[in-house]
Amino acid sequence: MHRGFASLLLSLSLLVLAACGGRAPKTSGAEPGARLLTEPQYRSIIADVFGSQITIGGTFDPLVRTNGLLTVGASLARVTPAGFEQFDRMARSIAAQVTDPAHRDYLIGCAPQDVARPDDRCAEQFLGRVGRFLFRRPLEREELATRVAEARRAAVELGGFYDGLAASLGGMLVSPSFLFVIDVVEPDPDARGSMRLDAYSKASRLSFFLWGTAPDEELLRAAAQGELHDRRGLERQAERLLAAPRMEAGLRAFFDDMMAFEDIARIEKDSIIYPAFSAAVASDAREQTLRTIMRVVLEENGDYRDIFTTRKTYVSGALGRIYHVPVDRPDGGWTPYEFPEHDPRAGIVTHVSFTALHSHAGRSSPTLRGRALRELLLCQKVPDPPGNVDFSKFNDPHSPARTARERLSVHALQPACAGCHKITDPVGLGMEHIDGAGQLRTAESGVAIDARGSLDGIEFADVGGIGPAMHDNPAAPACLVDRMYAYATARPTQRNERKYVKYLEREFARDDYRVPALLHKIAISDALYAVRPPVEPSPAFARNTP
């Protein structure tokens, strides 16, 4: 009798589980970390707190792309002396602008009794308010007192309230509490012996993920009230962020990173070979692709994979001269444009932001394009070229190769080369109808281009076939999920999270590859906020465990 009941219970619960489609696998996350702000995040925060008129000039130390993202690289980044010098320069410049006569009245919010002397009341009000946004948490009493004292000292030394305030503000802008996003952990009251991120750390994680910037007033308030530790409270905030117009900026920041657009503005093309390519083309190219992606995944809440096949895009005057399409407003602005049926250019892989970015200054590069497609869009690693490569056997001095296909054919012949080049070249060669500047062509050096290619078993006759091949390649949506999760956690994905990521990939498919659903899932997940206790327990942890 018992056994029958037990098995009935068992099968019932199995049924229930099956109906729910499975629960999310548990993760234990990673140790709490401290990651450096990336350049776009730094700029966003300054614009949010002080307005977009404040100019930021300076060089950020380069980050190492890790797990395909600079945002993850930031979790490992260190600040060099030259890098700190730049941060200091930027900080002082920002502080000087904030306190200058043009801005002080509306940015500082209070005025000193005497402009030539310190004013602790006003300094405290300003630094406390601004500090809460910059540090993403309220300043502790001692902290604030120190900063106010600094403003006072500096005001006396320099002979003016605003100079003193600028000095203190400049100091805040190079403080580790500003430059580094630091995970603060506390004991988890709902799970004895475990740790959890504190409310402000959760707020930061959510905000940087969805909006690419520091938490806003409402999110900080929710953190202060403890609402982020509550499932409903967290969902409310996540949904608020997802529904806001700011969401577009946040999602753009993600795709900017995933597509490796950080260097696109500095693409250099030979002006004799590609006279139509200019700096305007390079920066417009990025905007074109981001707009196209935003329309598909955000505005239309459509299938992510459609970004590879959509004919609809946007062109500017500069791009019109590269794509050879008409533009309604040649002097500025964007014209929606749909490539006609028979035009092979459809999808972001045919955009200038891909084809020209992954080419040389004076010609195309099937290998660079193939590699970029694999690494950026399919998350597949292409091994590095071997050191001891010798072309001498294959260089025929009497007939120099005229097309890329001819030049690269040696790769296929030599076994040392073929192993890797067959991963990149067949798809890259399929794009040869698009030259190094993103322009359509039919011949190279007078020879008609043979643009047959293939991608993981799907063959195509020219670049028009790459979009559908990408659309149907399961690695493409899986790659998006991997990147999205790594971006959200802003650190390398841990082994204990792999099952969870696979679960996300399955869910993404079940949700018809809709990105907002994926964002939502991650934003309210346990996984996003999971922390492992630090290997070396900090004294704070030891002190607080009962």
Partner: protein
């Protein structure tokens, strides 16, 4: 395979069965009077014409010469403002060409010229034309009518090294005024088509140049529209034979800007012969027709100080222009009022934008509103 690479010729294409005629667009990049010149000016056996400055100089006494030119130290440009006002009452002789009687203009006496046979006759008087000498084309074609060349060919300023025309082209290139668009519609076959339409528009968007200052093809240009109607839209019928587009003659309004003169040129019985590049990315050709003498003199009269760098003399040109005019006689006086002429031009492919520019007039007000709100925001 999509349409067997028909996209490859960069044309929107379809199969022959469902032929949809396409449109070609060009923006004219350089425009010059088609003037044949030899290295040693053999076509001007009496030499090139004296300019206003020399004629002024000739009329001065020696002491006056020293006085007005600082003993010869004043540059021609500096003394232009005095020299041009040699009318008996201080008139600017360019704007008042009949105020003085100057030596007759030396005309071109060579036999060869660019151009086309406009009157279909041998230069004798007809109801529609006045007697004049005709030229032989460079390819041997007889009966070429080009009185504009005859008139200006021995005027230094209008020769290739004389600067007037180089300046015009440079002006247009840098400020985008007087830009002409050529739209060819109803094209079924870029190489051969018996029936197409050629329409002339004025562009309101400036040229795009590459880093070295060359014209870039495939830019988009909005047309000039007022009250919902294009300001320029003369249309001619034409045909394409072996990649060369020729049109029937017709009256055409052409935008014009050059040397600070902005005008609407009205060319009568104008016809085009345009060689299209194989990929239709560029074109070059000739337009020939009749230019009103008054229009020409309006331009010449407004040349201004640029004449100081390349001699020309308005009064002489004025008299000669009316004398050798060969077209469109005035019904009352019988005197011809237009000069046969020919122009060489080059063009690059362009997208001619109609729709948006319908709103261009309104767009202006949007821009003004935006400007004012920006101004307020920054204060």
């Amino acid at each position: 395979m999509r349409g067997a690479f028909c996209w490859a010729i960069l044309l929107p294409c379809a199969t022959v069965a469902t032929a949809a005629p396409r449109t070609l667009g060009f923006v004219i990049t350089t425009w010059n009077i088609a003037a044949y010149e030899t290295r040693f000016a053999d076509e001007c056996p009496l030499g090139l014409n004296p300019g206003y400055d020399e004629l002024w100089w000739r009329g001065l006494s020696k002491p006056d010469r020293a006085k007005f030119t600082d003993n010869g130290l004043k540059s021609r440009l500096e003394r232009y403002f005095v020299a041009i006002r040699r009318g008996p009452n201080g008139e600017d002789v360019c704007m008042n060409p009949t105020s003085v009687k100057d030596p007759p203009l030396m005309l071109v006496e060579g036999e060869k010229s660019y151009g086309m046979d406009l009157d279909g006759k041998d230069g004798v008087a007809t109801g529609k034309s006045c007697p004049h000498q005709e030229f032989t084309g460079l390819d041997g074609t007889p009966g070429v009518d080009n009185q504009l060349y005859r008139l200006l060919g021995c005027v230094y300023g209008f020769r290739s090294y004389g600067q007037f025309e180089a300046n015009e082209n440079e002006n247009r290139k840098s400020n985008g005024k007087g830009m002409t668009l050529i739209e060819v519609t109803g094209v079924d076959d870029v190489r051969n088509d018996p029936d197409v339409r050629v329409t002339i528009y004025r562009a309101v968007d400036q040229y795009t140049l590459d880093g070295s200052g060359r014209f870039l093809p495939y830019g988009s240009y909005r047309i000039d529209v007022a009250d919902g109607k294009p300001r320029y839209s003369s249309t001619l019928r034409g045909k394409i034979v072996d990649g060369v587009l020729t049109t029937e003659p017709g009256d055409v309004n052409l935008p014009f800007y050059g040397n600070y003169t902005y005008m609407n040129r009205f060319l009568r019985d104008l016809r085009f012969r345009i060689k299209l590049a194989d990929d239709a990315a560029s074109a070059e050709g000739m337009a020939a027709g009749y230019l009103g003498v008054d229009q020409l003199m309006f331009y010449v009269g407004g040349l201004g100080p640029i004449q100081s760098s390349a001699p020309a003399n308005c009064p002489s040109i004025h008299v000669a222009a009316y004398e050798i005019a060969d077209g469109h006689p005035d019904p009352k006086t019988g005197r011809c009022t237009t000069l046969s002429s020919a122009y060489n031009f080059k063009a690059v492919a362009a997208f001619i934008v109609h729709g948006e520019s319908q709103r261009y007039a309104d767009g202006w007000f949007d821009r003004v509103r935006r400007f004012i709100s920006d101004l307020r925001a920054s204060n």
